[in-house]
Each structure stands twice: as structure tokens, then as C-alpha cells.
Symmetry: C2
Subunit: 224 residues, 2 copies
DNA sequence: CACGGTGTGATTGTCTGACAATCAGATTGA
DNA sequence: TCAATCTGATTGTCAGACAATCACACCGTG
């Protein structure tokens, strides 16, 4: 016996919409027919078209504006990680894996950071600025936020947007552990930040790598 | 003047559903309330709930079965690849950045891979197995699939699940370039795979790193 | 008692019709 | 000329209804 499930209408709709985009060779920003027109040409109800377009829009393939219409969208990783981030099934890794992943990420970008730092002085200024703000901050909560921002900026300094997005994603998972980090000794962390910047400014990649690894792995000691 | 767009009901719905999953600590496979119940608790119509669930389902965060109900889904990147890769102009990621991100990722995991390789011989067997299967494969499409699998396994060998997930996500974005890689010289790639394994097995991290970087960056030459 | 077919309630899937909200562009007025 | 306003087009949301599908209890038969 065959299961042969009847294909769902909205799935056909999504496929047909995608086909339409391909056939018409539409580029991001181009207009699509209205929902009503799509429904008529596909021979289905507007509701099913809507479920299709909303799904496509969720992924960034389409954009819709009230009173205007549908346009072809532009997919970026930011959007995906935003929705994927909370899902435990994707990243229900233990704390050690999160730490190690972060080490891989932040040490891996250092060569790129150093290269861009040499070309653009504002990067170093920005990082030093953050570091000093962390030092002068008295509120613990504020400090944590600034620390997160520092590491974000470090990744961003590499110019590799996909990694920045992934780093933010990891942060979301670290938040779970922020509570247990309350009593962390921030002094060592502060000095670490400055040393990292120094090494990068001098293009001493290996030294910076060691420093970053040590800095991040220091959190390992406080594993629940 | 303030723009202050009224937030759309379905967006609130998606957020609330995600919050619900978090608060209840639901794992993949767990049941969710019915659409009607969700609509009532959120104080909105079932239609808006539906648009939310359909979007979430499209991404793989939820699953819905007729006559059964909603369950938390298991995200597989394959599903996303299917929808993401279909049109080249839609992706907002720069090819160079994708390449560099991949370099960071795959070179960064090498120390972890080498360590686990020394402890678990099956890892090396698995990688060598894949490499030889790639060599004996005549079908180009098959070769690409196996090549993707090789790099996936390399990441997986690190034992760092978050990075594996991210690598898969990157693959989804790479897919659109597979076409332009058709005429790539696979011979050099093949030898590269073996050399990478050799270096890792010998715990020569630096050599392996150089080899991986060279291997991945070789694609840079074929930028559209 | 064992077991396969059957019914039944619950749940998602789809449709129809209606109205509100929003926006771009035309119209109007000073 | 230019700014305020009107208007039509389009998406956003709602309500109600019925069909399709599935898990599970029920029942009859051996």
C-alpha cells in the first residue's frame, strides 16, 4: 500500500512562487503579483497563498509591505540566527563545547582582525574605548553587557559577517550561564583585554591567540 | 514625527510561541498546545497563530501533523538548503567572506580534531573512507555531495556541535556556488584531503592548518 | 482471550467573505 | 509651486464553516 500523502496546497504554492521568481528572473527588490492575483493564477484561495508568502517572508525570500505589495527579499545570516538561536535542539551543547567553540571563533579571526586594524586605525580606537569603559563601569550588569560588546566588536573587526552572526548566536546561549559568572574575577579579564589589543596592534598574532584562548578558557573553571 | 509601526500580530505570535518553548523548556518532539488554544491564550485569531506556526514550521522549529497537533521540530539544515539555494541573487553574503569564515572554522577546529583522533581511531578511518569514496566516484554531483560530507565530518570530528551546526548553515549558503565549481580541478582537492588527514594523524597541527587553508582558499580563484 | 476492523473525537488543512490598516500617487486648494 | 488631503490598491486580521487526517478506544469475530 502506498502512503501517497496528498501534497499540501501551501507547499505547492511556495514551490510555484519560487518557480515564478526563477522563471521571471526576479532580483531582490522586484515586485511580485498581488496575493489575490497569485491565488487566481494558482487556482487556490488567498489564504493558502498567504501561508506560503508568510513562510517565504519569514526566511527572507520575500518582503511584504502593507498597502504596497510583495517584493523579492534578500537573505542574510543575521535573520536566520535570530530565529534559530533560541532553539535548544540546535545548540544544546554543554558549557565546555560553547567555550571551545568561542575559542575557535575568536582565535581564528585574529589574523583578519590584525590585518584590518593596520589599515583602519578606528578599529583599535573603538576596542580601547570599550576596554576603558569596562574598567570604569561599576555596575556588574553593565560590565557584563560591555564585555559582551567587546567580544562582539572583536569579531566584527574581522569583517567576516557570518562569524559575527554566529558569535551573537553563541552569546545567546552564554546568557544562560551569566548568573553563575557573577563572582568572576574581573580584574584579570580587564588586563587581558588590553593585552589582546596590544598584541593585535603589534601584529603579534600568536601572542594574541594565546591571550585570547587563556582569557576565554578562564571561564571553564566555573563550570556548574 | 514617530514612525512607530504597530507590531504585526503574527510576529507577536511567533515571539510568544518561541517564548513558550523556552519557558516550558520543550525539547524536540514535545507537544505544543493546539492552534485554537494558542489563539485563545494569546487573545488573537487562529489565523494569526497559523501564520506564525507555518513560518516556524517552514524553518523547522515546529512540526505539524494533520489530526495530531504541533510538536517541536528538529532543525535540519538540509531543509533550509532546499529553500535557500534556489536562487543565486537572493543571498546577501559575500563569497570571500564565506570562504574566509570557512577557513576560520575549519582551521580552528584542527587542534581539537587531532586530539580526538589520537584517542579514537575510528575518526581517521571514517575520514579516509570518505576520501577514497570521493576518489572512486565518477558522478560529479555525487562527488560534490561527498566533498561536503567530508568537510562536515572534519568539523564533527572536533566534537564541537555548535561549530558543526554552523558549518552546515554555511554550506547552505555555499550551495549557490556549486554550479560555478563544476570545472574545478578535483585532483588537487583529492590529494589535499589525504594530506590533511596525514598531518592530523601525525598531530602536525601547523602543517594541517596550512593545507586546509590552501585547500579552501583555492576556491577563491573562481569568484564570479 | 486474542486480534483485526471500525468508529469517533480531536486537530490541522482549506475555503469564503468581510472589514481594518497602511501606503503611494493623484487630486485639490491656497 | 507646494503642501495638505483624498482615493484606490494591497496587505493584515478576523470570524465561521467544513474537509482531511490521525490516534485511540471500541467492538465483533474467531
Amino acid at each position: 500500500m502506498q502512503t501517497l500523502r496528498r501534497p499540501k496546497v501551501r507547499d505547492q504554492a511556495t514551490d510555484q512562487i519560487k518557480q515564478f521568481i526563477i522563471k521571471q528572473k526576479l532580483a531582490p527588490g522586484d515586485r511580485l503579483p498581488t496575493e489575490t492575483q497569485l491565488a487566481e493564477t494558482f487556482g487556490i484561495s488567498r489564504l493558502s497563498v498567504r501561508e506560503a508568502t508568510k513562510s517565504l517572508e519569514f526566511l527572507g525570500i520575500l518582503e511584504s509591505k502593507t498597502g504596497v505589495g510583495l517584493t523579492v527579499g534578500r537573505i542574510d545570516m543575521q535573520r536566520m540566527t535570530k530565529h534559530l538561536g533560541f532553539h535548544s535542539g540546535l545548540l544544546d551543547a554543554d558549557f565546555r563545547q560553547l567555550i571551545d567553540s568561542r575559542v575557535v571563533l575568536e582565535t581564528g579571526v585574529l589574523p583578519y582582525v590584525a590585518r584590518r586594524m593596520a589599515a583602519d586605525p578606528s578599529i583599535e580606537v573603538n576596542l580601547r574605548n570599550l576596554s576603558s569603559r569596562i574598567r570604569s563601569s561599576r555596575d556588574l550588569k553593565n560590565r557584563i553587557a560591555l564585555d559582551v560588546q567587546f567580544h562582539h566588536s572583536l569579531l566584527a573587526a574581522s569583517g567576516l559577517q557570518p562569524l559575527v552572526a554566529f558569535g551573537d548566536l553563541l552569546d545567546a546561549f552564554f546568557q544562560r550561564f551569566h548568573d553563575s559568572l557573577k563572582k568572576a574575577d574581573w580584574k584579570s579579564g580587564l588586563a587581558s583585554h588590553d593585552r589582546i589589543i596590544d598584541h593585535l596592534a603589534a601584529a603579534h598574532i600568536d601572542e594574541a591567540t594565546v591571550e585570547v584562548r587563556k582569557h576565554i578558557e578562564s571561564h571553564k573553571e566555573r563550570i556548574p
